[in-house]
Amino acid sequence: MGRLFSVRDLAAIGTIVMACVLFAFNLRLYFQTDAALQLYLPEGYVRTQLYYSLSLVLCVSSMVYAVYSLKRREVLAEQAKKLNQFVQEVDIRQSAIDEHTATSISDANAIITDVNERFVKTFGYSRSEIVGQNQSILYRHKHLDETFLDIGRTTRAGKVWSGEQKLVAKSGETIHVNTTIIPQFDEAGNLIRNLNVRTDITAQRQAEADHFMTRMLEELQDEVFIYDAETLQLTYANLAARDRCGWDRAEVRNFRIVDTAPNFDEMAFRYHVAPLVNGRSSVVTIEIKHNKGPVEIATRLLAGPDERPIFVSVLRDISWRKKIQDAKMESVAIVSHELRSPLTSIKGSLGLLQSGVMGALTPKAQSVVEIAARNSDRLLLVINDILDIEKIDAGKMDFTMQPLDLMRFTRDAIAMNAGYGTSFSVTYELETDLDTAMIAGNSDRLMQVMTNLMSNATKYSPSGEVVTIRIAPQGMYWRVSVIDKGPGIPDSARDTLFTAFAQVTSSDGIKRGGTGLGLVIVKSILKRHNARVNFKSRMGHGTEFYFDIPAAIDTNIEQPVRQDAAG
């Protein structure tokens, strides 16, 4: 109001008042009945003055009104402009809020009654899907007892709740948000609704996690290389890797993985990682001699940020492991030697006694000598198996790979084990539709596998039965199965069957001979061939032990795989 009646306004009003006073004075004169007074004034003077003062009043009033109207219009225009600006500002702020925060309104029972566009985008629910749902839909169960209930208590108490939350989107993805929940009450003090304002900080949390992971990678003692799977161009090398190679962080991208070692054989490397490229393995490892000692390199194939395939190789210094392995191997070799020498005398003596060279034995003496001979054989098998396991573990066993036809190899295995089968009245039968089945393998080691599986099948087969050896394609692999019609293996033995000295108690109660190490050796040998061993069994019907071994990629290449390569 003060702005409407400025000094100028008051001056105008004052002028009008003065004109009105003048007019009233002249009006009084006009109606003056005092003849004496009229005698002293010229005729018509009063009337003229009256008209004049009236005109003045009207004129001044009109002017003042015009000035006031103009002034008033300016003020209104100014107010309208300001109001418009204010509305625009509110719109901008609303847009900013909508763009930045996922906002929802829920009633006193936590039922969602409205959401904004950002909420829809953030949580993946359409408006119609989410309106009418309880807020709890946004929470994983484990949070229900904590945050969700705390919010209820806080807002009902009339307080604003603020905090960080882990909510869940429609897709199941975790959404990290900073949340402020403002309660609103009616005149009676009852909670009528909550305004839920949430800022999505998932990307920030992810970036923090990524940053943390990068820092961890940098600080790892193991060397880490990330590089393009096709060009082998490096994209990242951690601090340990850069230190060894003598590179700055900025120049890593100028190098390829082949530049990380002086005698890096790119062809051998591509052969080594072929199982990753063709999907046969998720990781390949190799042990090599490095300029800083023996290292184990584990390589994986992953999809890069731009979906291009990348290799991630981790180099681990295994010099200590090698030293321990060598020491262990040495101990086992010594123990083996120390056991073999007396065993030579025992077995030799028993053999000479059994043969009759030393004179005829009584039947009772003969049976006792046989027991001793049988158990000295068993002891020798255990010693040999332990030595084999240690040799495989220590990388001392020869695993030179060569092209091998599984068909011919299996026929040889059957011929070689036929004598053993005969001693149990068991025969072997090859079942296959294939003519050839090429692999890259070590025939001596695979013969050990077949001999182990076939002798197990033989021992558990009923007398007069057939053990079937089946070879069939299995995707990119050949499946070699050894099938018996024995008592079967209980499923409870599945977890321990391939561990050392695990022997299953047969359902028929008959104990079969064996060292309890055969399947451990089988598994270890097959692992070096990138092959997997498993079994299927039905109690009372028999067991099928099988292994899936990769079909040869190129049988024309006699590709030697390093003795120390691991699958």
Binding site: A333, S336, R340, S341, P342, T344, S345, L352, V357, M358
Partner: protein, 126 residues
């Protein structure tokens, strides 16, 4: 050339007994045995062996050292050797073969077939 005389060196007396029975009784070889390398070096020339059968790991002189010492003697310069060892590692056997050993027999051996096994190796190399 027929194989008749075998000089056997092993520090384990029991094994010497087994080998003697295996080669003299089961096989029909003439055998002279020693429990250590120096004894063998001293007594080998008079025996005029056709073949050495040497244990590898012995205290004092090892089997390969005994072989080298004997082949240093002019009378035994070309004497072949078969080694007997309890060390079953492939690499170890390959090393001995590379050094010129005629064969490597791994303990424990079968006394009933030892003589025929040695004869077979001998025939294969002559």
């Amino acid at each position: 050339m027929a194989l008749k005389r075998i000089l056997h060196v092993d520090d384990d007396e029991d094994i010497r007994t087994i080998v003697q029975l295996a080669l003299e009784v089961v096989g029909e070889f003439e055998i002279l045995q020693f429990g250590n390398g120096p004894g063998a070096v001293a007594g080998a020339v008079d025996f005029r062996p056709d073949l050495l059968l040497l244990d590898v790991m012995m205290p004092g002189m090892s089997g390969p050292e005994v072989w080298r010492a004997l082949t240093a003697l002019p009378q035994l310069a070309d004497i072949p050797a078969i080694f007997v060892t309890a060390k079953a590692e492939d690499e170890f056997s390959r090393d001995l073969t590379r050094q010129g050993a005629m064969a490597v027999i791994v303990k424990p051996f079968d006394p009933m077939t030892l003589a025929s096994q040695i004869q077979e190796i001998w025939d294969r190399n002559h």
